[in-house]
């Protein structure tokens, strides 16, 4: 392993690649002031629920303050932006700071998934699997577990948790197995972060780090799939054991459970057969095109964001007279959070904060890429992503690795990817999907405190991280 290979030409559309805004040396005082601002933002994000403020507002305010301070201190490179072709165009400094490619992927994917769900496709799959289990709790755990991983991989981990978690609540209630709901939801919550590792578009940290490192969809999948498979099997086995989820003992119990799950009608959510089949075909096409974006002529230049937005537009044609309803349903808190976050990171770069953190990371992992360094970065990433949002962490670390000219095939990228995703399994605030799992638990009046979650999730998270360290060291 070496870090002497030139950094892969990354697919990121970040305007940082084409503008002449370079980070100039700044005084230590300025760096420390902005480090304080960054720490303040991270603490506020960790305490998001305590301070009753949504993350878009927290990061938005910090971005505004950082821009103002940066402007006053003269560290921001105001001026024209050079676009391909050499043209200079006037543009405020915060516009090219945003990675619009990532924003396009998130907006396009969430619109696409939202519209596709109207076809009844996801509920059809979910109900079919429920019926296939015949109501046996162990089979149900396996089916729901695998479904969580696949949905997390194909859609995203929050959507997967919403679909599988809500079905779990309804089906276990129907089967009179509410005593097992906590175990099911916890296992599913943990599996969202495992499934979130499977593809480049499964989670936002994957998108950010993968784009920055220039990892293609197929390379990402080939690297992540074996780990996801093993971690899924181990998690479900552990979940069944720890939460006492057992097979139905008698024939009477089995026939009663079968009658109960047979009352589910998988076709109930399908309003139009045509749209159902159309959505299924388009979903497969979406996965196919996303998987081959890096090798498709022209599409590879337009990027995955274009693919996601185009497929969303194709699906919107079905609802052409009410597209505004879907626009309203976009999670603007998330989108504005990302945009503001990119701005904050850009200012931090100019203030020398990223260099400072990079130096800290270099101190931890060494200047040469070593096994100890790779393992340390993964564990540290997991720890930090467990106590704060994994998206800023992934964005910051990928920026630092890119700034340090880390090779595209370096194991350090994978340390960040695995660490940022798996850290979410340590605490309920570590990832949005585990937070959804806890929200569903609370909805069903199941007690699950922060400490309670850590207590039950730690054995799983420990195994996941240990397995990831071994896997990354073995494979990269």
């Amino acid at each position: 392993m070496s870090n002497n290979i030139p950094m892969a030409e990354h697919a990121s559309t970040s305007a940082a690649a084409v503008i002449e805004h370079g980070a100039q040396p700044v005084s230590d005082t300025i760096t420390l002031i902005f480090t304080g601002i960054l720490v303040f933002m991270v603490v506020c994000l960790a305490l998001e629920e305590k301070i009753h403020a949504q993350k878009s507002l927290i990061v938005g305010v910090i971005a505004a303050v950082a821009l103002l301070l940066g402007g006053f201190m003269g560290i921001l490179p105001f001026g024209d932006v050079i676009i391909p072709g050499g043209h200079h165009i006037p543009m405020p400094v915060y516009i090219p700071a945003v990675d619009w490619g990532v924003i396009a992927i998130i907006v396009g994917s969430s619109l696409f998934v939202d519209i596709t769900s109207r076809s009844g496709l996801f509920t059809w799959v979910a109900v079919k699997l429920t019926k296939a289990s015949s109501g046996d709790p162990v089979k149900l755990l396996w089916y729901y577990g695998v479904m969580t991983v696949v949905f997390s991989a194909v859609l995203n981990n929050v959507t997967a948790m919403i679909i599988v978690g809500s079905l779990t609540g309804v089906s276990l209630k129907k089967l009179n197995r509410m005593d097992k709901l906590l175990g099911f939801l916890l296992v599913e919550g943990l599996l969202t972060n495992i499934g979130g590792l499977l593809t480049l578009i499964s989670s936002v940290p994957n998108i950010i780090v993968g784009n920055t490192a220039g990892i293609s969809f197929v390379s990402f999948f080939i690297m992540a799939a074996p780990y996801v498979l093993v971690a899924t099997v181990i998690t479900i086995f552990m979940g069944a054991k720890l939460f006492g989820i057992k097979k139905l003992a008698s024939e009477d119990q089995r026939s009663e459970a079968k009658i109960l799950v047979d009352s589910f009608d998988e076709n109930d959510g399908i309003k139009s057969r045509g749209f159902f089949f159309f959505s299924s075909a388009i979903l497969l096409a979406f996965i196919g095109v996303i998987a081959t974006t890096s090798i498709l002529p022209v599409v590879s230049d337009l990027g995955m964001g274009f693919v996601a937005l185009t497929f969303a537009a194709i699906m919107l044609v079905r609802y052409k007279s009410e597209v505004d309803q879907f626009y309203k349903a976009i999670d603007w808190d998330l989108i504005i959070f990302f945009m503001a976050l990119f701005v904050v990171i850009a200012v931090m770069e100019h203030a020398g904060v990223l260099n400072l953190i990079g130096a800290g990371i270099t101190y931890l992992i060494g200047t040469e890429e070593t096994q100890m360094g790779t393992a340390t970065l993964l564990v540290v990433s997991a720890f930090f992503s467990s106590v704060t949002d994994n998206i800023p962490l992934a964005a910051m670390l990928s920026k630092i690795l890119a700034t340090n000219a880390t090779a595209g095939d370096s194991s350090l990228w994978w340390s960040v990817i695995f660490g940022a995703n798996l850290g979410g399994n340590l605490t309920p605030i570590g990832s949005a999907s585990t937070l959804v799992a806890v929200t569903i638990m609370h909805k069903y009046k199941l007690k699950m405190s922060f400490a309670g979650f850590v207590k039950v999730a730690f054995p799983f998270a420990f195994v996941h991280i240990l397995l990831a360290v071994g896997y990354v060291l073995l494979v990269t």
Binding site: G120, T123, I162, G165, L167, F264, D265, D331, K443
Partner: protein, 286 residues
């Protein structure tokens, strides 16, 4: 953005209660009257004829409680406990003169209906003269009434048990228009809820479940090649008035309904007024 509630609703909606058919048999029937035994015989003959469609009707064991066997409601309940049966047949205003005033079922019947778990076939009072001329002559048309038809397998099974092979069962579910309008008026004053959308979705959902349940009854009968016809009456309206209209229009021979309400001592909401008003035909009260 998708949310948990949206998917929970979709999955709850996917749960369809399906009718489970079972042929009921009534091995022992208790006939209660306040007539002397000799005068009761013709009426008992009519009742036996009316019950002729039930499974193994010929071999059913009939017991009689007549005038002099009991005086009070307590006596009656004690005797019923001593003579356990699968069906009780009696008439309204039993052991009472209040049949002259069509405002109640009489205290004996009120107590009986609430105290026993045995189905009660309540026929018109033999002396009152308000019975339809065809009452008790045959059972070719049954109406099963409930305000929540979903999962009322027992109710439907009882209705079908009395129906002759070529007969027709009307499974009715009338949503109360007044209450619906009242809730919609409240929703109309809440700015966060789009009123017309809510009205349309709620209207559709309230009728969807009973409609699907009745379809499952049809499917279950087709599966066992049962020739009895099933017609749904699923609509919004006035629960009492509209049921009475349907009873007249469809020339219903037997009205089947629930009487128990686990949360109150009195008879189940719609059952009592309907039982009072529909006095011209037999009622099967569970």
């Amino acid at each position: 953005m998708l949310d948990v509630d949206e998917f929970e609703s979709a999955f709850r909606s996917a749960i369809k209660e399906r009718y489970q058919h079972s042929d009921l048999s009534f091995a022992s029937v208790l006939f209660i009257c306040d007539l002397p035994e000799t005068e009761a015989s013709p009426l008992l003959g009519d009742v036996k004829g009316f019950c002729g469609n039930i499974k193994q009707a010929e071999s059913a064991q009939w017991q009689l409680l007549s005038a002099g066997d009991y005086q009070t409601a307590d006596d009656l309940l004690t005797l019923i406990q001593q003579k356990p049966s699968d069906l009780i047949v009696t008439y309204r205003n039993l052991h009472s003169d209040s049949w002259r005033h069509p405002f109640s079922l009489g205290e004996h019947i009120d107590v009986l209906l609430q105290q026993t778990d045995t189905p009660v076939l309540l026929i018109p009072h033999p002396q009152a003269g308000y019975a339809r001329s065809e009452a008790l002559k045959h059972c070719a048309s049954v109406m099963v009434v409930t305000d929540h038809l979903v999962n009322d397998h027992r109710l439907v099974q009882h209705g079908l048990a009395f129906l002759n092979d070529t007969g027709h069962a009307y499974l009715s579910h009338i949503e109360d228009q007044y209450h619906f309008d009242r809730f919609m008026a409240a929703i109309g004053r809440i700015p966060g809820i789009e009123t017309e959308g809510a009205r349309s979705k709620l209207h559709q959902q309230l009728l969807k479940e009973p409609t699907e349940y009745i379809q499952s009854v049809k499917a279950a009968l087709e599966q066992i090649s049962c020739p009895k016809g099933i017609t749904p009456i699923v609509e919004f309206g006035h629960q009492l008035k509209d049921h009475l209209v349907h009873i007249e229009e469809k020339q219903v021979d037997l009205l089947v309904m629930n009487t128990k309400d686990g949360e109150q001592l009195a008879m189940h909401g719609l059952a009592y007024p309907l039982a009072i008003e529909a006095r011209q035909i037999p009622l099967l009260m569970l």
